[in-house]
């Protein structure tokens, strides 16, 4: 039995269904990231776990106990808010101990708990300051301190890093991951940033329009997206989704990609998924991640199915650690990820290797994966 279980959760505001039956579960000590574009219902889902929103249908259980009818303070949870929500009239120490004060914890115990948390987060020198005297990163720490001090069963994070600048965001992301590793707490984390989702999570739920599109480990989500939306949303740069057709040569299937002003490329598919044979002569969407489209020398050596084709390079973007090359296939810009020192010139024709082991296929009509 999982530690956090959400069963058939529905949330309606009047006639509008915000959450359309969510089923998610998380093991103890796990890190669940709810990710999706704005308006997908991920924050609402978090608020229903916190008890700040009532649910219309379904059940939320923590450690086997249904909590969906309990008051937020009785659920044994702690929450870190997007704006940090530090009480501006109280000192840092006051902010951290407010919850304990409300629960009637004696003053000396409160002080001990404050000191302990301050040590973990290295905010001891800030305890007597007001939130307005803190920097963004310090506020973030205090907000986490306020959650940590409760020692709850479940931590909820609502886009905690979205107000920080890019460098600090990376630092705090590592810090959250370290905190999770050392304390072994169970965390539910909302973000719209798929990199945060990939780096932090043990489980990811990709959401859209109040539904979970895919639920799995980061590797599953990244390598085996169930539909076009997940494939497009997760990964940076995004997966190349190229309109293509399926042809037969002998008894093997092959993928035909249109090139601009030249004859189409035909990529033989040795390990085509079973469902693909039904699409002979029909349009499909061919998905290949930028790192699976690279210079032949940089291609994965142990990949079993590599096809090379000459492609016309339109733009080259050296990014330091990698070089990205943009070409055109099937009428769409396609990004290839090359080694930093790859010798490549825009406007020339260069051979690039497709790692077809990693390729995925989608039905353009249903947007679902062809397996």
């Amino acid at each position: 039995m999982a530690f956090l279980e959400i069963d058939g959760l529905k949330k309606r505001f009047g006639n509008v269904e915000i959450l359309k039956g969510i089923d998610v579960e998380l093991e103890k000590g796990g890190f669940l990231v709810l990710v999706g574009p704005s308006g997908c219902g991920k924050s609402t889902l978090l608020n229903t776990i916190a008890g700040l929103e009532q649910i219309t249908e379904g059940e939320i259980r923590v450690d086997g106990r249904a909590i969906n009818d309990l008051h937020p303070s009785k659920r044994d949870i702690a929450m870190v808010f997007q704006s940090y929500a530090l009480y501006p009239n109280m000192t840092v120490a006051g902010n951290i101990s407010f919850g304990m004060e409300m629960r009637g914890v004696p003053a000396d115990e409160r002080q001990k708990a404050i000191d302990k948390v301050a040590k973990v987060l290295q905010i001891g020198h800030l305890l007597q300051r007001k939130p307005s005297q803190l920097s963004g990163g310090q506020r973030q720490r205090v907000a986490m301190g306020r959650a940590l001090v409760r020692d709850p069963k479940l931590f909820l994070f609502d886009e905690p890093l979205s107000n920080l600048d890019a460098k600090l965001r990376v630092d705090m992301r590592i810090e959250i991951k370290r905190l999770h590793a050392t304390t072994g707490t169970t965390i539910v984390y909302v973000t719209h940033d798929q990199i945060e989702a990939m780096t932090l999570a043990t489980k990811i739920a990709v959401m859209r329009d109040g539904e979970v599109q895919q639920f799995g480990t980061p590797a599953e989500i990244y390598n085996n997206p169930t539909n076009l939306f997940v494939a497009d949303f997760m990964g940076s740069p995004a997966m190349n989704l190229i309109p293509a057709t399926i042809a037969t040569s002998g008894n093997a299937l092959s993928v035909v990609l249109q090139r601009e002003a030249r004859e189409p490329i035909t990529l033989p598919m040795a390990n085509a998924p079973a469902g693909l044979s039904a699409f002979q002569g029909k349009p499909i969407i061919f998905g290949v991640r930028p790192e699976a489209l690279t210079d032949p020398e940089g291609a994965e050596r142990n990949a079993s199915n590599i096809a090379t084709a000459d492609l016309h390079i339109e733009v080259v973007e050296p990014a330091g650690s990698d070089t990205f090359a943009v070409t055109n296939l099937g009428g769409k810009g396609v990004v290839a990820r090359l080694r930093a020192d790859a010798n490549i010139q825009p406007g020339t024709s260069t051979p690039l290797a497709f790692n077809l082991t990693k390729a995925v296929f989608f039905d353009p009509a249903t947007e679902n994966r062809i397996r």
Binding site: L52, P72, S73, M79, N89, P131
Partner: protein
């Protein structure tokens, strides 16, 4: 040549128009200031003159032999109606009425604003609209219905007095005035606080809920300590309005011991017997105007401080 000369000419013309603009603006401002300060000046000057000097001298002239007697007389001796014990008793009457009325109406306004923004219920907007409507009801239209209500409450007070031995203040004129001003003030105080709390971050309330704070604990520990600017604005507004009110005061406490300052001042000035003592009248009027000035000067400082605190991000 002309191309070189033109900018110089424009610049000098610019300076001239700028100067003229300044002179016009400051001149007009000075004129308005003078216009508004003139009555205050005459009042102050007159209140320090003797009667002889007032009758024979220039109204704008400074007092030749300044005297505090008119102020002392206004405070302790002048006749209000038939009793000649000065206005000091009425001054305290006003204080006894204003302080509870301001505090109660402000607290209720804060509570209303809190509920209307952070604990929204079905029809909250309608309720707020109706309360807003209360701001536009003319005083005069309330007079008679309110008199009827106060009359019934007073009779109930008498019944209580006879049966229990105490009326719990029901029927007392000061209590009546406090009640009237609270009822009439709630519309305004609610408007102030609702608009302030509308911009108050809701995540703070959510955080406090997760922390286990109750409805009133959130109000007392989170909302009120962060409401200083609007609190001061409301107190200044309510204090000025209630202290200066004449209509309700004269209608519900126009005679007798509970008469507030405004009514008493009117009675001082309207005394028809003997010589009109302008210096005493002016001193009494100054005393009547003083508390609102003091509240503004004292609280105004906090008001500015509150605004500054809000200006800092976070």
């Amino acid at each position: 040549m002309s191309a070189v000369a033109t900018p110089a000419r424009q610049a000098s013309g610019g300076i001239n128009t700028k100067l003229v603009n300044r002179i016009v603006i400051y001149g007009l401002l000075a004129l308005f200031a003078l216009f508004y300060l003139m009555p205050l000046f005459v009042m102050l000057v007159t209140s320090f003159k003797t009667m002889d000097e007032i009758q024979n001298g220039n109204m704008l002239a400074l007092p030749k032999a300044p005297t505090f007697d008119p102020w002392l007389k206004a405070w302790g001796e002048t006749c209000v109606g038939l009793t000649c014990a000065g206005i000091k008793g009425y001054f305290w009457n006003s204080i006894k009425m204003v302080v509870p009325a301001v505090l109660i109406s402000t607290m209720l306004g804060a509570l209303n604003g809190y509920v209307l923004t952070k604990w929204r219920f079905r029809g909250a907007t309608l309720v707020f609209g109706l309360m807003l409507f209360a701001c536009f009801i003319p005083f005069q239209s309330v007079l008679l219905p309110m008199a009827t209500i106060l009359g019934s409450v007073g009779r109930f007070g008498v019944t209580l007095q006879n049966s229990v031995g105490t009326s719990f203040g029901l029927g007392n004129s000061t209590v009546n005035l406090v009640f009237v001003h609270v009822v009439y003030g709630i519309g305004f105080t609610t408007l102030f606080f609702r608009n302030y709390y509308e911009a108050f971050p809701t995540e703070l309330i959510k955080a406090a809920q997760v922390d286990g704070a109750s409805f009133f604990q959130i109000f007392r520990r989170i909302m009120l300590p962060n409401s200083m600017p609007i609190f001061v604005v409301t107190v200044i507004y309510q204090f000025t309005n209630i202290w200066n009110d004449f209509l309700f005061a004269s209608a519900y406490a126009g005679t007798g011991d509970a008469m507030p300052m405004t009514v008493a001042l009117n009675n001082v000035v309207n005394t028809s017997t003997g010589v009109v003592e302008y210096n005493v009248n002016m001193a009494a009027a100054m005393i009547a105007a003083l508390p609102t000035l003091i509240v503004y000067v004292v609280a105004g400082r906090y008001f500015v401080r509150g605004l500054m605190a809000g200006a800092v991000k976070g």
